[in-house]
Symmetry: C2
Subunit: 332 residues, 2 copies
C-alpha cells in the first residue's frame, strides 16, 4: 500500500501538465529537451515511481508474468524460476510465483488469482489432467506456455524435453555396456508425459543385441522411497537383473540405496541410471549416470515463446521439444 509521488505531484513541481510528465517518463516524444531535463529532475527529487496498477488498468498490461509449478520444493523448479525471473526483468516485468501441488482444484484457484491480477502471461507446469482448464484461459486471451508436456491447442504454446529419446539413450547405454537383464522403475503418476519415458525405454529393445532378455517394468511413486520400493519389487520378480533405469534421479538414488542394502554392488552387480541430473546425482556414491536436461535452455525457450505470444497473440505456436544428453558416471 505505498503512497508515493504521482504524475500530478511531479507536474505541479515542474509547472507542466501530468500528461507531459507521462510523456517524458515513458519517453514518448513530444516534449522539448528543456522540459525533459526539468521533469526528470523532479522525478528524481520526489522519488516518483509509476503506479503499475493505474498504468495496467488502462494499457491492459500489468507488467507481471506468472510461473506456476507443481511443487516449489522440487529442486528442478527454482532453477527455472531463476532463469525466468532474469528474462522477465529485462522486459521490465515482475514474476508471480505459485505452485499447484499437482492438484487441479488448487491450480484453478491459482489461475483465478493470476487472472484477477491481469498477468501478461503465464508459464505453467500443469497439474495432471488440466490441459482443458488451461486451454480455457488461453482461449480467453491469456498468453500461456505449458512446460514439460507436449500439447497442441489453439493459443497454447508448449516447451519440453525429449525424454522419450532420453530414456532410449539410457537403455541403449545399458545395453552397450553389456547389460542383458534390464528393468525400469516407472512413475505411477498417470499422465501422458510420464508414459513417454516408458515408451522410449521400451523402444531400445525393439531390435536388441543377442542374448538380451525382455525388459521388466514396475511403477512406484516418483520419490526416493518409491525408488527403493520399485527396486524391491523388481528384484522379487527377477533377482538376476543387471541394469536399472529409473524414472527420475530421486528414484534412482532410492533404488541404489536399496540395492546396496540387499548386498548388490553398484555398478558391478547391477548398473543404475536415472533421469534429470539433479544436484544430488553427482554427489552420491557411486555417481549416478543420468539424462541431463539443459534447464537454462528450457527457461530461455519458455520465456521466449511466452514473449512471442504476448507480443503477437492468437497464433498457434508449434510445440518446442529440446534435445537431452546422457551423462555417464560411475553407477553404470
Amino acid at each position: 500500500m505505498p503512497r508515493g509521488a504521482t504524475l500530478r505531484d511531479v507536474a505541479g513541481r515542474v509547472g507542466v501538465s501530468p500528461r507531459t510528465v507521462s510523456r517524458v517518463v515513458n519517453d514518448e516524444g513530444g516534449f522539448s529537451e528543456a522540459t525533459r531535463v526539468r521533469v526528470l529532475e523532479a522525478v528524481e527529487d520526489l522519488g516518483y515511481q509509476p503506479n503499475m496498477l493505474a498504468r495496467g488498468l488502462i494499457t491492459r498490461r500489468s507488467g507481471t508474468v506468472g510461473l506456476v509449478g507443481v511443487d516449489m520444493t522440487d529442486p528442478f523448479f527454482p532453477a527455472m524460476a531463476d532463469g525466468i525471473q532474469n528474462a522477465a526483468r529485462e522486459t521490465g516485468r515482475t514474476m508471480f510465483f505459485a505452485s499447484n501441488d499437482g492438484d487441479p482444484q488448487l491450480q484453478a484457484e491459482v489461475f483465478r488469482s493470476l487472472w484477477s491480477h491481469a498477468v501478461d502471461g503465464v508459464i505453467v507446469f500443469p497439474a495432471p489432467g488440466t490441459i482443458e482448464q488451461l486451454a480455457g484461459y488461453a482461449k480467453r486471451g491469456m498468453p500461456l506456455v505449458v512446460v514439460d508436456d507436449i500439447v497442441e491447442f489453439p493459443n497454447l504454446a508448449s516447451v519440453s524435453f525429449d525424454l522419450e529419446d532420453g530414456a532410449t539413450k539410457a537403455a541403449q547405454h545399458l545395453l552397450a555396456t553389456g547389460r542383458r537383464r534390464i528393468g525400469m522403475i516407472g512413475s505411477e503418476v498417470a499422465v501422458p508425459r510420464t508414459r513417454r519415458r516408458e515408451r522410449g525405454f521400451l523402444q531400445a529393445f525393439e531390435n536388441p543385441p543377442a542374448g538380451v532378455q525382455p525388459p521388466e517394468l514396475v511403477r512406484a511413486r516418483p520419490t526416493i522411497h518409491g525408488g527403493a520400493e520399485g527396486l524391491q519389487t523388481l528384484l522379487e520378480r527377477r533377482p538376476d537383473l543387471d541394469g536399472i533405469f529409473a524414472f527420475n534421479d530421486s528414484m534412482a538414488v532410492g533404488a541404489m540405496r536399496a540395492a546396496q542394502a540387499y548386498g548388490y554392488r553398484v555398478p558391478d552387480d547391477i548398473a543404475i541410471a536415472g533421469c534429470n541430473d539433479i544436484e544430488m546425482s553427482a554427489l552420491v556414491n557411486p555417481g549416478l549416470t543420468t539424462i541431463r536436461l539443459d534447464r537454462p535452455r528450457l527457461s530461455a525457450e519458455a520465456i521466449r515463446v511466452l514473449h512471442e505470444l504476448i507480443e503477437e497473440p492468437a497464433r498457434n505456436p508449434t510445440p518446442v521439444v529440446l534435445p537431452v544428453e546422457l551423462v555417464i558416471r560411475e553407477s553404470t
Copy 2:
C-alpha cells in the same frame, strides 16, 4: 492482459447498479437475499473475476506480497516460499518472487519494481549492507519483514534463527564427544549475521574441558568447493585436527569429501558438523551431524509478523529469534 466481465456487465445482466454487484461480491451487506442470489448467478454465468488492479488502485491494497531471496537455487529458499505462499493464499494474496543475488544494486531494482506494483508487504533476505535501503522503504510505509538477520529499525520487523546458539551447541557436542583439536570453516561473506556463527562457536571454548586446544578458524566461500578449500587450509595449519564445524552443510559436505580424499576417516579420525540440515545432509555417507532449522516455523513467523504489520502499520516490532536443534548423525 485479460479482458473479462466487469461489474457493469454483471449489473447490466441482473438489472441493478454496479455498486450493488460490488456489494454482493465483497459481501458488504446492504442488499436483499433475492438480489444476492441473482447477482451471484450472473457472476457465475459470466465468469466474473474482480479486477485487482482497479480494486487496488482505490483501496491501496493490491492483494500481493513480495518474497525477496538471495539466490533462488539455494534449497533453503523454496521451502520458505512454499510456506509463505500457503499463508498468503489464506489471506487472498498472491506472491511476487524475486532474488537479489546478494547485490544491493539489484535488490534496489527489485524493490523499485515491487513498490511500483504496490505490494501489501515484503519478506526479504537482505543483500549485504542494505539495511538502510530497506529501512527507507519501511519508513515510506511498506510493511517489511527481514528474515535471517536481527535488525532494530522503526517500522521494520525481523525474524531469524538463533544460529549463534546453534554454533555453540555444535562445538559443545564436538567437545562432549571427546574432540580436543577443533577447527571451524567460516564464511568469507562479511555480514554481521555470518559472524554470529563464529561468535557462538568461539563461545563454547570460553570454559573448555581439560586438554582442549584453542580452536582454529579459516574462512572460505559458502559452497561445497569452499568447504573443501577451507578444510585443506585448516589441515595445512594443523594436520592433527579431530573436529570440524562448518558454516553450512554445503561446506561441511565439501570438507567431508576433501578429508576422505586425504585419507582421513570420518568420523573416526575427524568429526565433521555442519549447519542448516539441508536435504543432502541425511543422504551423504556418513550422515552429517548438523543444526536443524525449523523452516516451516520461520515462514510461519515471518508471515505472521508481516500480517501484523500490514494490519497495524507504524509499530515497532521486536525481533523474533527462533531456537534451533542439534541433529546428531554419523559424522561425529
